[in-house]
């Protein structure tokens, strides 16, 4: 137990507390900016069983904030890569990796195997799914979320406390709130918020201090100011989830992530005819794509402008990073508009290809 000496010599923890940690089972959903620090501290603290579910792979742009990963993990599944790192950190714990998506179909069975669920995801659909599955399986939910320089932390569904739906009853519409890959995030922010989440997990397991239940903590990294807002339990919201529990696994994700295969290169489309190129970025976003006709339909007002879509043509849709373009494809498919392709490349690369093509043509 030398490893945990600094815990054990704390009278609030001691050997009893350390044993509680080693018996605890915590599931972390998402091994990204928030998930990484949560996992790191839970593993170091000796939480006996840690589950990690994430379907995504490690990319270079993750390394600015997802501190469990290094160059050697690039291209690997995040849950598997995190597991390798955590077992190096602490070989005495059990780490279960689930390299898959959390869905309405697998959530309940998975949550039932753990004591505490940690939300480290990056989209509302999964956040509401996690919240509802926690209500159904009666598990405490340690919630964290970030936007640019600001973060939110709370413990939901703890000792009959409020749930995420009690704080935010209505799920924002698709594309209403952009995520980190679209707007950017200060790398250290998920480190701060994720570490606060890890702290709440440890307090729940150890039964010490005051758990951040019934409150939403809001933090601003630029001012280093934080405040808490009291959240009341809304029984109506919780009852409606419990009432429909038997149909929970019959729901489907509308998520953009269903469209992983909608990853296409602009190269395939540039020399084709009958293609409509659609830019779904906001009007002010730079640089513009030049040299081909482009229809601008910002995602924020996409539904209002479906009439601009040419139903006879192939639709090659791009944005800055390939995420909003997937949302656009998803929205179009939902409106029965097909033959839509989300483009991987952003405007810089697209402009590069166009210039190459123009050069080739002028040489011919």
């Amino acid at each position: 137990m030398d490893r945990y000496n600094r815990h054990i010599i704390l009278s609030e923890i001691g050997e009893t507390g350390q044993n509680k940690l080693s018996k605890a089972k915590v599931l972390v959903v998402g091994a990204g900016g928030l998930g990484c620090p949560v996992l790191q501290y839970l593993a170091a603290a000796g939480v006996g069983t840690i589950g990690i579910i994430d379907f995504d792979v490690v990319e270079t742009s993750n390394l600015q904030r997802q501190v469990l990963f290094g160059s050697s993990s690039l291209g690997q599944n995040k849950a598997d890569a995190a597991k390798n790192r955590l077992l190096d950190l602490n070989e005495s714990i059990t780490v279960n990796s689930y390299p898959e998506k959390l869905t309405f179909q697998n959530a309940i069975e998975l949550f039932n195997q753990y004591d505490i669920i940690v939300d480290g995801t990056d989209n509302f659909e999964t956040r509401y799914l996690i919240n509802d599955a926690c209500i159904i399986t009666n598990k405490p939910l340690v919630f964290g979320a970030i936007f640019k320089f600001q973060g939110q932390v709370a413990v939901f569904n703890y000792n009959n406390g409020p749930t995420y739906r009690c704080a935010f009853p209505n799920m924002p519409k698709q594309g209403e709130v952009p995520n980190c890959s679209e707007v950017g995030v200060l790398g250290v922010l998920p480190g701060i918020i994720g570490t606060m989440q890890a702290n709440e997990v440890l307090k729940i397991i150890l039964g010490i201090g005051e758990v951040l239940s019934g409150e939403l903590l809001c933090y601003d990294a630029l001012t280093n100011k934080s405040f808490t807002i009291k959240v009341n339990r809304l029984d109506k919201e919780i009852k409606s989830i419990l009432k429909n529990r038997n149909d929970f696994n019959k729901q489907n994700m509308d998520s953009v992530c269903e469209f992983e295969n909608f990853a296409n290169s602009i190269k395939e489309f540039l020399n084709q005819e009958n293609v409509q190129f659609i830019d779904v970025r906001e009007v002010h976003e730079q640089p513009k794509v030049e040299g081909i006709p482009v229809t601008s339909i910002p995602l924020s007002s996409f539904l209002e402008h479906l009439d601009l879509i040419d139903s006879d043509k192939k639709k090659a849709i791009f944005c800055q990073s390939g995420i909003r373009s997937k949302m656009a494809v998803f929205i179009l498919n939902k409106h029965n508009i097909h033959n839509c392709y989300s483009i991987n490349e952003g405007p810089n690369e697209i402009n590069g290809y166009i210039k190459e093509l123009q050069k080739q043509e002028s040489n011919e």
Binding site: G33, D119, F124, I146, F168, E176, N179, I229, K230
Partner: protein, 77 residues
């Protein structure tokens, strides 16, 4: 009465400021929101909660503070 309004998250992209004041003579939070919707029409399309005195409140609540906070949910992780 001058009411201080604090904006968080993506709401600041609509308001272009983190806080502002408005002159308000009504009673309910919903009336205050109507004034804000006139000033910033895009706020209408955003999900957010209102807090006064460090507590989430509904539109039907009476305004009893000279500072309110507009708090949207964050999705990033």
């Amino acid at each position: 009465m001058q009411i201080k309004i604090k904006y968080f998250g993506m709401l600041t992209e609509i308001t272009n400021c983190q806080e502002g004041t408005i002159d308000f003579s009504g009673i309910y939070i919903s009336e205050l929101l109507e004034i804000l919707y006139v000033k910033y029409p895009s706020l209408k399309n955003k999900e957010f909660q209102v807090a006064q005195n460090q507590q989430l409140v509904s539109g039907k609540t009476k305004l009893n503070s000279n500072e309110i906070v507009l708090l949207p949910p964050f999705s990033g992780g």
